[in-house]
């Protein structure tokens, strides 16, 4: 079923049908009616391929996931994809999903698929710091918006969460609850967010005139097991510590485990704040106070930026979003005299 078939059935030329469909040019009301009826009856939909061929635009935006899923909390991705997909669809775009690597193995497709002019723009969800992204991006000549990674490349936009500020708020919250000796479980330096969270921790301490003690900071690689060990060490070596800020929730859970094992209790003996607001935070005991990134919203914004760039042939914008603190029950207010 093509334009011409519809044209024949409606007894008009194929151009008239095209005009009816696209709302361009003059068509008399009666003709329009007739054509629309025939289209309806045959539930005709114009060929996307033919349109893409002649217009040079596919109306498809690529979504490239640049990190290995198994290395990162699984629930990070879905809300982002969902947000992107929703906004893109609303704007008449389809979405092509690619994973750069799967289970450690490099995927074949991304570059070639993306080069074929198969997409009008590209959203890249990534996690690692800098990495090879810079180089790889340059080859592709479509508008690009990075999600969750703030790399300043001319002509490339991004949507990121201000993790530095998120961490700042978390630590500030601890300080405002009377905590002075605050441990920090740090992530892998490989991940860009890791450094930012550290920066926020340091900023908050300095802002409130507290000393930055390197021995309070432990690198635990975003890893539950390591955090568990480091927390045990930390509490043994530095018993004056009353609170821990963990750079993600899995690490906070590691701290929980250590505290339990030492026969202590949260938040009575130790206050804990995590980061990411994973699903389980509300279910564990005690429910974990943590920092929430607005993941769906990030996806939505990224989609808007890319649509904007594609349609106005302009460079994509850059956008920094603020996370917020989700208060639960893992932080205790210290008495003044304590």
């Amino acid at each position: 079923m093509t334009l011409k078939d519809i044209a024949r059935l409606a007894e008009v030329s194929h151009m008239t049908v095209s005009r009816v469909i696209n709302g361009t040019g003059y068509v008399s009301p009666e003709t329009r009616e007739r054509v629309l009826r025939v289209i309806e009856e045959n539930n005709f939909v114009p060929s996307a391929s033919a349109r893409a061929l002649i217009s040079g635009r596919t109306n498809v935006i690529g979504m490239l996931v640049m990190y290995d899923l198994s290395q990162f909390p699984h629930d990070f991705l879905p809300p982002i994809l969902e947000g992107m997909s929703f906004v893109l669809n609303q704007n008449g775009y389809g979405t092509a999903l690619f994973f750069d690597q799967v289970n450690g193995k490099k995927n074949v497709a991304p570059e070639s698929m993306l080069a074929k002019g198969q997409v009008d723009g590209l959203l890249i969800v990534s996690v690692e710091r800098d990495s090879a992204i810079r180089k790889r991006i340059q080859r592709l000549n479509v508008p690009i918006v990075l999600v969750n990674q703030r790399i300043d490349i001319p002509g490339v936009g991004y949507v990121v969460t201000d993790d530095c500020n998120g961490a700042y708020c978390a630590v500030e919250h601890l300080i405002q609850n009377g905590h002075r000796n605050i441990g920090f479980l740090q992530g892998t330096p490989r991940f860009s967010t890791s450094m930012e969270r550290q920066c926020g921790y340091e900023k908050a301490l300095s802002r409130y005139g507290l000393p930055l003690r390197p021995e309070y900071c432990r690198v635990a690689n975003f890893d539950n097991e390591t955090s568990y060990e480091q927390t045990k060490l930390l509490l043994a070596q530095r018993p004056e510590i009353t609170a821990i800020f963990a750079a993600n929730d899995a690490m906070a859970l590691g701290a929980y485990r250590a505290v339990n094992e030492l026969g202590l209790s949260i938040p009575r003996d130790l206050s804990v704040i995590g980061y990411d607001n994973q699903e389980y935070c509300q279910f564990i005991q005690p429910p974990l106070t943590t920092v929430r990134k607005h993941r769906r919203s990030m996806g939505e914004h990224a989609a808007r930026l890319i649509v904007d760039a594609v349609e106005n042939r302009a460079d994509p914008q850059k956008l920094v979003m603020q996370p917020d603190l989700v208060l639960r029950q893992s932080v205790r207010r210290l008495e003044e005299g304590a």
Copy 2:
């Protein structure tokens, strides 16, 4: 940059270039070399749109997510998508992702996008029982494979996990550890997997000659809070219960909470098995024994089935996968005399 540009630069006709690219027909080694060099130098990639137009095939497979993400564990989706995407890419297919509904709102795109002949085949990830899928599927005339939903529709394939057997194994494991009075926290009847898990529970009891006591079974809607309440009730009303099988991990966590609050301990006073093997299962205390679905593998298989169907113009196959039990530390072996 088109075939013809390459042809001009290599001083051949565009057909020769086409033949070189597709490996069809006769081309002399020297000519092939020359053409390949020119292609390389200009890193030319043929237009997917033009190919799609003339061949009637897009080399894109649609992936439609039919359920509301917020209603289901977030980490269910990524491995499935990843598995699909990987296999599809390997076979030269691109992937178009669509969400049927986002945050309760119906998405606009799916039907129209899919109808436009934009995809050669469709993978549908769903969760709800039957629902409207039957009707919606019939309109689309591309091969379809359902993922995680076993609906027998002629010409439609599926990849599912045998949740009945998964539940059976879980309950069997409890029985083999000496438990006789086993509670069951049930999911929403809305979800297809829910009924299967119940079926497995009942099968195991009956297989081992244990009575099915309705008062041991509580509907907790896959919900943490409800499970928490139901577990408290269950333990109060039926103190003889020594183990609980929860139809998913969130519910198991609810049980954990109840047990803690009653001053009891897992697995000493109560053994618990969950279902899904969510990320946090290994991190909570005690680590939760649970049933693992092979999600990436499901995605991979589904992708293979659809590629098969598309390329051989045959009806897609149907496939039932077996989950397995992940043993951790939430189940206690009861002494014979206990």
